[in-house]
Structures are given as structure tokens and as C-alpha cells.
């Protein structure tokens, strides 16, 4: 009975199982057919034919982190827009004003980030 509301999710579950199984199956079929002759040079990381230099797991520049933080903030915002869009026609002008306020506050954030140069990708 509790399942009744969830019945539309059963196919999703089935689909997830199938798509996961396809990945496994394709790798399994490949494993049955393919040859395997590993040796040291073949297993070294590819660096255009030159001897690999240094460690791959190096520390990266923090700019990626800043972009991820900005993304997080704006993604939360974008998600808030969905419920607003759904009830928009029921609330009308009031909803419009609410959302304009919301968006303007976030535009201030964008303008701030822009003015501070956080959106410039410098090499």
C-alpha cells in the first residue's frame, strides 16, 4: 500500500539494474576474448613515449576549488528556482516580486565575484 505512490519508481530501479549490468557484461565479454601480455614499458603511464617523470598525483592549483565553491552556491540557487517555477501560475505577481528579489541578491554575488576577478581564468 505504501508502495502505491512509488510504483512509478519501479521501472527506474529496473533500468538502473539493466544499465549497470550492461557495463559489467561488456567488460566481461571483453575479458573472455582479449589477449593479455603485459610488460613493464606497456604498463607505465603514457607520456608521449618519454620516460614518465615524477608523480601523477600532484597537488593542483586551488582555482578549481574556487570554481567548485561558486558552482555550489549557484547550483543551490538554481534548485530553488524549480519550486518557484512550479507554483508561479498559482501565485502570480507576488511570486514574480519574490523571485526578482531573490535573483537580484544573487546577481550582486555574481557581480562581486566578477569585480574581484574570481571569474577570470588566468594561466
Amino acid at each position: 500500500m505504501l508502495l502505491s505512490g512509488l510504483s512509478s519508481y519501479i521501472p527506474v530501479l529496473v533500468f538502473m539494474a539493466i544499465s549497470g549490468a550492461i557495463g559489467f557484461l561488456m567488460l566481461l565479454i571483453g575479458r573472455l576474448w582479449r589477449p593479455s601480455h603485459p610488460y613493464k614499458e606497456k604498463l607505465s603511464p603514457y607520456e608521449c613515449g618519454i620516460e614518465p617523470e615524477g608523480d601523477a598525483w600532484e597537488r593542483v592549483i586551488p582555482r578549481y576549488y574556487v570554481y567548485a565553491m561558486l558552482f555550489l552556491a549557484f547550483d543551490v540557487e538554481a534548485l530553488f528556482l524549480f519550486p518557484w517555477a512550479i507554483v508561479f501560475d498559482k501565485i502570480g505577481w507576488f511570486a514574480f516580486i519574490e523571485m526578482v528579489l531573490f535573483i537580484i541578491v544573487l546577481l550582486i554575488g555574481l557581480v562581486y565575484a566578477w569585480a574581484k576577478g574570481a571569474l577570470d581564468w588566468r594561466y
Binding site: 505504501l2 597537488r59 593542483v60 582555482r63 565553491m69 558552482f71 501565485i91 519574490e98 550582486i108 574581484k116
Partner: protein, 175 residues
Amino acid sequence: MVKLIFIILAGIGVIAALMVVSLKNVVHSAFCLIITLFCVGCIFVLLHAEFLAATQILIYVGAIMVLVIFALMLIDSRETANDRRFHHQSQWVIIVGVILALEIVIFIIPKSKFIVNPEKMIAQTAEAGGNTQLLARYLFTDYLFAFEFASLIILVAVVAAVFLGKRLSPTGKRE
């Protein structure tokens, strides 16, 4: 059926959560955390909280875990892999943890009221046209102030992100 799916999801989630705290490589821990958060999202679906489930997966798995992974790339995972797995205070932590858990089981759970009538709630949700519609209606009428306030909090987060990014930049100059 729902119970079976819940038990499977909760089991995977708890095992992955245990691996988060016990694995030596921090990046592996992050991947296990993704599994845990994903399972929590699926459990939200079982609770008919569809919008919350999508939010959980979109924000936590899709955004916060990306942030965590980028943060982990700032440190050298090889160095932390050689550290001791548990802190020397671990036995005290276990004792305190067990006491707190017992407290929850003995004192809090018997006195708390969980959803009184799930069928009624589900019917109410269905009447409103789904969980998202109901949530949206409340969000934009009764909890409007909280909603507008959320935008201010996000603004603060953006400012903080920009400021931190400036501090983090290797040259320290305008970045």
C-alpha cells in the same frame, strides 16, 4: 517490498560510511562518501520526499562531493596514506559514542513522535499534485522569509568563496 529495499539501501549506506572513516586513502574515502550520500537520496524517495531526493543527489553528490574532491586534490594523498589510521584517543571516542547512542535509544526514541499517520500524509501529498508542489506552496507562502533569507546566505557563501580563492592563490596577487 519497501522494507527490503530500505534495508538494502541503508546497509550499503552504513557500510560505505564505515569505510569513509576507516580507509587510509582520502580519495577512496571521498568515493565511499558519494555512495553513502547517494543511498540517503534513494531513501528519501522511499519516504515520498521526491524533491528532497533530487536535491540530495544534485547538491550533495553532484556539487559538494565535487568540491570535496577538488579540495582533496589540494593535498598530497600519498602523505596522508602513511599516517596512523586512528587517532590515539580512539578508545575514548568509542566509549563516548556508545554512551550517546544508548542515550538516543533509551531516552529519546521512546518519547519522540514520528509520523503519526503516513497514509494521511501520502494522501495529502497526492492531492496537492506531488511532494514538489506541496513543498513549493509552503515555501512561497508560509516560509517566504526563510526563502529570501536563503538568498542572503548564498550571497555570503559566494563572497566567502571569492575571498578564500584570493587567499588560496599561489601568487597571492589578484586572482
